[in-house]
C-alpha cells in the first residue's frame, strides 16, 4: 500500500506537465463543461420559455434528446461513433476536432449538462412572480432589459439549489471520461489497482478525492446561497429593526 502511494500519488493529483492526470483532469473537465454548459444554457433557457414556437421547439427537442439518453451513450457516439464516419474524417476541421479524445469528451459533457441546466433555468424563469414582471413593464422595461434587470437575477437565484446539484452530478459523471481514454481520477485508480492488485486502496483513494471535491463544491454553493438568497433566510424576530405592532 505504501508502495502504491509512493508510485501513484503524483498521478492521482496532477501527473506531470504534458501528461496531466487524476484530480487535475477531473477538475478541469468538470469546470470546463459546467462553464461552457452554463454559457449555452442561459440563451437556450430564454428561448425555451419563449411563446414563439420556432424558438421554443428546437430547444425543447435538444433538451429532450440529451436528457432522454444516457450520457454514456452520448459519449460513445461523440467519441467512437462520429469519428468512424468518413465524412467527419474527410473534413479537416472536424477531423482535427474529433481526433482528440478530450474534445469529444468535453463536447458530450457540455451538451449534456447544458440540456439539464437549460431546463433548470427555464423552470426558474417560468416561476417568476407575475407581479415582478408587471411592475417592470409598468416602468417601461421590455425584452432585453427586462431579462437583464428583473427576470434573470431572480431566476438564477431561485435556480441556485437545483443548479448546485447539477454541478455535483456533473463531477460524478466525469468518471465516464476514462472510457474515452482520458486519464481522469478514475482511470488513474484503475491503473493503480491493476498495477498493484489492491483495488480497495486504489479505488478508496479515488473516492476520498471525489469526496474532497464535492465538499469544496458544497461549501462554495452554500456561501453563494447565503449571499444571493439572503432574503429567504429566516430572520430572528428579536434581531434587527423593532417590530411595528
Amino acid at each position: 500500500m505504501i508502495e502504491l502511494l509512493q508510485q501513484y500519488w503524483q498521478q492521482y493529483l496532477w501527473g506531470s506537465p504534458g501528461h496531466w492526470s487524476g484530480l487535475v483532469v477531473t477538475l478541469w473537465l468538470t469546470v470546463a463543461s459546467v462553464v461552457l454548459g452554463f454559457a449555452l444554457a442561459l440563451p437556450l433557457a430564454i428561448m425555451r420559455v419563449s411563446t414563439r414556437p420556432w424558438l421554443a421547439a428546437p430547444v425543447w427537442l435538444f433538451t429532450y434528446v440529451f436528457r432522454g439518453t444516457p450520457l454514456y451513450v452520448q459519449l460513445l457516439i461523440c467519441y467512437t461513433g462520429l469519428y468512424s464516419l468518413e465524412a467527419v474524417r474527410a473534413t479537416p476541421m472536424l477531423n482535427a476536432f474529433f481526433k482528440d479524445a478530450f474534445n469529444c469528451t468535453l463536447l458530450a459533457f457540455t451538451l449534456n449538462t447544458a440540456a439539464y441546466t437549460t431546463e433548470i433555468f427555464a423552470g426558474a424563469i417560468k416561476a417568476t412572480p407575475r407581479g415582478e414582471v408587471e411592475a417592470a413593464r409598468a416602468f417601461g422595461m421590455s425584452g432585453f432589459i427586462l431579462y437583464r434587470r428583473i427576470l434573470l437575477p431572480s431566476a438564477l437565484r431561485r435556480a441556485l439549489p437545483a443548479y448546485s446539484n447539477e454541478v455535483i452530478l456533473m463531477l460524478h459523471a466525469t468518471t465516464l471520461a476514462s472510457t474515452a481514454t482520458i486519464t481522469d481520477l478514475l482511470k488513474v485508480a484503475r491503473n493503480a489497482a491493476s498495477d498493484y492488485y489492491l483495488p480497495f486502496v486504489a479505488y478508496g483513494l479515488a473516492a476520498l478525492l471525489y469526496l474532497a471535491i464535492t465538499l469544496g463544491l458544497v461549501w462554495a454553493f452554500q456561501r453563494a446561497e447565503r449571499k444571493w438568497l439572503a432574503h429567504l433566510r429566516p430572520v430572528r424576530s428579536d434581531a434587527g429593526a423593532p417590530r411595528s405592532v
Binding site: 467512437t80 481514454t181 489497482a193 491493476s194 492488485y197
Partner: protein, 263 residues
C-alpha cells in the same frame, strides 16, 4: 417460526461455504474477457466462443466438472480471482513474474508473443526511437500496457489504454492510433485476417522481453488452490496426449499454439 427460518438461512449459508471450499471441484468458474478472438469472443447469439472456451469445456469434461463462465474486464481478473469471484482465469493471460507474485499458473496452454500492428506498408518499428511522438494503443491491464508504460512512454511515445481490445482496433482503424501492441495470434486471427483488418499488417518483429511480456499463456489459479492447479494440469496433459488439444488448436490456428519454449 422466525427462529426456524433463521436456522434454515444459516444452514444454507453453511452449505454454500462448504460448497465453495469443497476439495472436489464440481463447478469451475472461469473468468474470461471476451474481446480477444480467436481465444475468447462473443458470437452474435451472445454465446462465448474461442480456443480458450473450447479448451475450458474440454478440461471440465475431463474433470467431470461443470464450467461456469464469468465475464470480467481483463484488468480486474486477478483481483476477482483473489476475491473468489472466479476460480480460474482462462483469458489468454501471459505468465509473468509480476503476476506470479499474486497468483499461480498451470502449465502453458498457448504460446504467442507480442507484436505490433500498424497500417500496411508503414515503416514503424516497435522501438521507442521509431515511435517517438506517435500514439499506440494497448488494452488495460495487459502485459503490453505495462511494457508500453515502462519502456515507451518515458521516451515520448503516447501510450493509450482501452477497456477492451475491440476499442483498440476501432481507434486504430479510425486513425486516432498509429499502432497497437497485442498478442500476435490475437492480432492475426482476431483482426488482420478479418475484413476489419483490411489495410493493416504486423509492423516489425516479435517483441522479446522475458521480464514484462512473457510469451506463454496459462490458466491462472489461486496460490491456495494447489489441488485445482494439479487437476487442471493433469487434464491438460491428457488432452494433449489424446489429441483433443491439437484438434481444438487446429480449429482456430494454422500453427501449433503450444510451439516454443516452456515457461
Amino acid at each position: 417460526m422466525v427462529m426456524r427460518n433463521f436456522a434454515l438461512v444459516w444452514l444454507a449459508v453453511a452449505a454454500a461455504v462448504t460448497a465453495a471450499s469443497g476439495k472436489d471441484w464440481k463447478v469451475i468458474r472461469f473468468g474470461v474477457d471476451p474481446s480477444y478472438p480467436p481465444f475468447e469472443s462473443k458470437a452474435p447469439s451472445g454465446e462465448l466462443v474461442g480456443f480458450d472456451i473450447d479448451l475450458g469445456k474440454a478440461l471440465c469434461a475431463k474433470l467431470n466438472a461443470r464450467c461456469e463462465w464469468v465475464e470480467n474486464d481483463f484488468d480486474g481478473m486477478i483481483p476477482a480471482l483473489r476475491a473468489r469471484k472466479i476460480d480460474a482465469v482462462l483469458s489468454d493471460m501471459s505468465v509473468t513474474e509480476k503476476r506470479r507474485q499474486q497468483i499461480d499458473f498451470t502449465d502453458r496452454i498457448s504460446y504467442s508473443p507480442t507484436r505490433m500492428v500498424a497500417k500496411a506498408g508503414s515503416d514503424l518499428q516497435p522501438t521507442a526511437e521509431s515511435l517517438k511522438g506517435k500514439s499506440i494503443g494497448v488494452e488495460q491491464g495487459t502485459v503490453q500496457e505495462t511494457y508500453g508504460r515502462t519502456y515507451l512512454e518515458p521516451q515520448g511515445v503516447k501510450v493509450i489504454s482501452y477497456q477492451n481490445q475491440d476499442q483498440v482496433y476501432a481507434d486504430l482503424k479510425s486513425g486516432r492510433l498509429d499502432a497497437t501492441l497485442q498478442d500476435s495470434i490475437q492480432a492475426e486471427y482476431g483482426f488482420l485476417k478479418t475484413p476489419q483488418g483490411q489495410g493493416f499488417a504486423f509492423a516489425g518483429p516479435e517483441i522479446k522481453d522475458d521480464k514484462i511480456l512473457g510469451a506463454a499463456a496459462a490458466i491462472g489459479v489461486r496460490k491456495t488452490d494447489g489441488d485445482l492447479k494439479e487437476a487442471l494440469n493433469h487434464a491438460l496433459a491428457e488432452l494433449k496426449k489424446d489429441g483433443t488439444y491439437q484438434k481444438l488448436a487446429a480449429k482456430y490456428f494454422d500453427l501449433d499454439p503450444s510451439a516454443g519454449p516452456q515457461p
